[in-house]
Amino acid sequence: MPETKPTRPAPTWRFAPIILAGFAVILLVAAGAIWFFGAPAPLQQAAAIGGPFSLTDGAGKPVTDKTYRGKYMLVYFGYTFCPDVCPTTLNDVAQAIDKIGPVADKLQPLFITIDPARDTPDVIRQYAAAFSPKLQGLTGTAAQIADVAKEYRVYYASHKTGPGPGDYTMDHSSILYVMDPSGHFAGVIRADEGPDAIAADLKKIVS
């Protein structure tokens, strides 16, 4: 009876799984980058981004995605406790809206908080109004915010900065989403490209 040879793999191939895993990671990262920073034109995953939501507006009134049907929604997720990046983005959005003229009438800009514990309707209303009378701030229960963030594939997490219950900052995806008047995904816009580029992208998407 012939003895089976030990099936020890040749040394060169011992690391094959690791190398393959490495390639897979690179592919995933590349795909992610394309997804995040690709052209603002409608993407293939269009159907998967956005969806129904139930939230509360700055007056404390319940709103849903259907409240805004008939208009394009420009959606940004952030939090008012952030005095650095969020004001820059919202100010750029406000300026972009001023630059696109009549196209702006077809658009409802929304600022949805990912920090509902601190962002009451009153807080978010004042914050949004500081940038543009057109910008609406929305908040909700922790569960409602978790739902809408999941639908928009928005990542957020709190990060403790001290011992107190209020000592935290939020990490969050910083991307502008555009939904069409029937509530379907229409495109994404980089949030950090400045008012001129945001205006140009908005003109391309909103028709």
Partner: protein, 148 residues
């Protein structure tokens, strides 16, 4: 030459606090207007050091605490963190704080920051000690300091 020098010194003094003995200059301090409900704010400064130093902390009468913070974008995710251990300042490389990066974070704002007003700020350096400046308040989402 003397005239030019005095003009330069005057210009520097009018916009900056120069800690003469220590060699740290803090210039162009500015902030953004906040809403009555806001509990936070951010002040941006430019720090120029004559010798190696470290910005270890800050305080202002308008907020309970002030911290050195950094905002950073990583893979489309925005993060804001206190700078642990202070911010090193190297001679020849001024730190230009601006939105989206380093800032002095004001926590527990005691009053709204009003556009056009001036906010006193004390920066503490490891070697230079305390440096006092006044930050001028720009519009709510301003991306740069207001023109004088």
């Amino acid at each position: 030459m003397r005239l030019m020098l005095s003009a330069l010194v005057l210009a520097a003094l009018s916009t900056a606090a120069l800690a003469q003995s220590t060699g740290v200059a803090v210039t162009q301090a500015w902030s953004r207007a906040s809403t009555p409900a806001a509990k936070t704010g951010a002040i941006y400064v430019t720090v120029t050091a004559g010798g190696p130093d470290r910005l270890t902390g800050a305080s202002t009468p308008v907020a309970e605490t002030a911290e050195v913070h950094q905002s950073k974008m990583t893979n489309g995710v925005m993060e804001m963190r206190p700078v642990e251990g202070g911010l090193a300042v190297t001679p020849g490389t001024p730190i230009h704080m601006a939105p989206g990066g380093y800032h002095i974070m004001l926590l527990g704002l005691k009053q709204p920051l009003q556009q056009g007003s001036h906010v006193p700020l004390t920066l503490n350096f490891e070697h230079a000690g305390a440096v006092n400046v006044e930050a001028v308040v720009a519009g709510p989402g301003a991306s740069e300091p207001p023109r004088p």
